[in-house]
């Protein structure tokens, strides 16, 4: 009876992939420690929001999750980041492969100016050395999931840089989705956008989170409440490295936080 149930469950809902676990992650820039033993579980196919005031290490933490942190000269790191149980900092795992599986969308939209919309979407495949069997369908699928297809389907060969800021950001999301990552990291993806574009991006996040694990850094508390199921609150005392004060389901963090500092922050009393 039990075994049959498991089988059926597996058929209906295949083993969730794309779970990220950070274990005691600490970060340094040169001698300065900016992150102190951060442990966090980011569940597969859910949206985890990282909130906290500026300079508390949210972005630094996010960048350790796909090995972008180490690109900054002088940056160092301790601890483990596990993707489906495997350490991404294992010397046998190539950083490029990890970054393909864990995509990233940046604060400032950065479509490649020398490429058309279509080429931008396909750029990830070209850059990571993957073959595209049916590029047209990949372009359509990625743009549709990013909620941009209807707006640009008739001008795929025009410049990516000619789109509006919000469209550019959705193009960057489509570009990341085209390589079919298991996790998508978003570093304040809406902070440079107007409210309407922000709403479109949030819709996009809701749309893609059924297949991709999303970790989003945001300064916007309402946004964290709207898009995320899990939430982690970061804080750094003056001249001290940042750490996680509290993490858990978003509804708990925003309505019944256990730490008074969390309550102060989510109610806008500081930060």
């Amino acid at each position: 009876m039990t075994s049959l149930n498991t089988d059926i469950n597996e058929l209906v809902d295949p083993a969730p992939a794309g779970g990220l676990t950070a274990k005691d992650v600490s970060c340094w820039f040169g001698e300065r420690k900016v992150l102190e033993r951060v442990s966090l579980e980011m569940r597969p196919r859910t949206v985890t929001a990282l909130i906290g005031p500026s300079g508390c290490g949210k972005s630094t933490f996010l960048r350790t999750l796909n090995r972008m942190h180490e690109l900054i000269p002088g940056a160092q790191l301790g601890g483990q980041v596990l993707l489906d149980g495997e350490d991404i900092y294992n010397p046998e795992v190539r950083a490029t492969e990890t970054r393909r599986r864990i995509g990233m969308v940046f604060q400032k939209p950065n479509p490649f100016p020398a490429m058309s919309i279509r080429e931008n979407v396909l750029s990830g495949l070209k850059l990571s050395g993957l073959k595209a069997d049916d590029p047209d369908s990949i372009v359509e699928k990625a743009l549709t999931r990013a909620g941009l297809w209807k707006e640009v389907s008739d001008r795929l060969d025009s410049a990516g840089g000619a789109l509006s800021g919000g469209q550019q950001q959705r193009l960057c999301i489509a570009r990341s989705l085209a390589v079919e990552p298991e996790v998508l990291l978003m570093d304040e993806p809406c902070s440079a956008l107007d409210p309407t574009s922000t709403l479109r991006i949030e819709d996009t996040i809701a749309e893609i989170s059924d297949r991709v694990t999303v970790v989003i850094v945001t300064h916007n508390m309402q946004q964290a409440q709207r898009v995320s199921q899990q939430c982690a609150f970061f804080l750094a005392a003056e001249n001290k490295p940042g750490h996680i004060v509290e993490a858990g389901p978003t509804s708990t963090i925003f309505t019944r936080p256990s730490d008074p500092r969390t309550e102060d922050y989510v109610n806008g009393r500081f930060g």
Binding site: R99, P113, S128
Partner: protein, 358 residues
Amino acid sequence: MTSFTSETNVSYDNDRPRALRSWKVEDLTLLLGTAFSALALNWIFYTALTTATGATGFVVTWTLLFYTFYYLANRIELGPQAASDRLWTAFTWSAALLLLAPLITILLYVIVKGLPGLTKDFFTQDLSATGTLDTGGGASAAIVGTLEQVAIAVFISVPLGVLTAVYLNEVRGKFRRPVRMFVDAMSGIPSIVAGLFIYAVWIVAFGHGFSGFAASLSLSILMLPTICRTSEEVLRLVPGGLREGSLALGATRWKTVRQVVLPTAASGLVTAVVLGVARAVGETAPLIMTAFGSTALNRNPFSGAQDSLPLFVYRLITNPFPAQQQRAWTGALVLVIVVLILFTAARWLGARASGQKR
């Protein structure tokens, strides 16, 4: 309660842009009036009061008087703030015109002197069968030589220069500082020393003899630092966000450089190449002891002495006979035309390479 619209009696056509910075007639009369009175006073100085002569001095004192009058007149009319603003406007305009003057004069002079000799024969014949007193003959040997030598030099120095720039700005290797220092030092090498070096090493020590290729080597030495440093500046302008975006997609460093950084910087890199070519195409000194020069057409750049346009001009302008001097001027005109064509083509290519997707 003041209303802005009711205070003016002028009615505006709201559908038309308003002229916000119009020059009034008074401004023009002030400019011309002060210029004329400065001229008049200067005239009196020169003809009646002093024994000064010479056109250069006349223009200089006239200009200085004009600045003074223009400033004073504006100060009376508009006050010190506006007057010094006008004066500085006058200075910058003068500087811009002064900069253009030599360029335009050189171009006009070369055209006037060179045009009479510009015939079809000039491009198709060489000077191997032409005596110093004969008319006819042409610069085909020099034109072919210049084009081949510069093309080979571009072929050598562009990949080297751009890759070094990539090393300096993208790879950020350990030897960045010394490499940059050497490149800087290289840009200070006098061109004749570059020629001597190739002469001593390639031609004498290795025994290869004079050739267009030897000339290309010496020109490459001159082009490399220009191309490398300009490329580096251009690569630095590529936003870091693009590199991060590319790396975050799982690209390697090299793929990021080749697929994202270099295409984004394409038009700037073309400028770098243009500046490099500009440095090399008119060089004469290093060619004297590498290409050596020749009156006969030699299409093979890898063997035997070859002519080039700067050498052709240098050799013939020092000749006392008018026919040869005429050829030299025409050669100079052709050199200017070649440079103009190269630059236009490069600009067009650069605009096409990157402008298309902007």
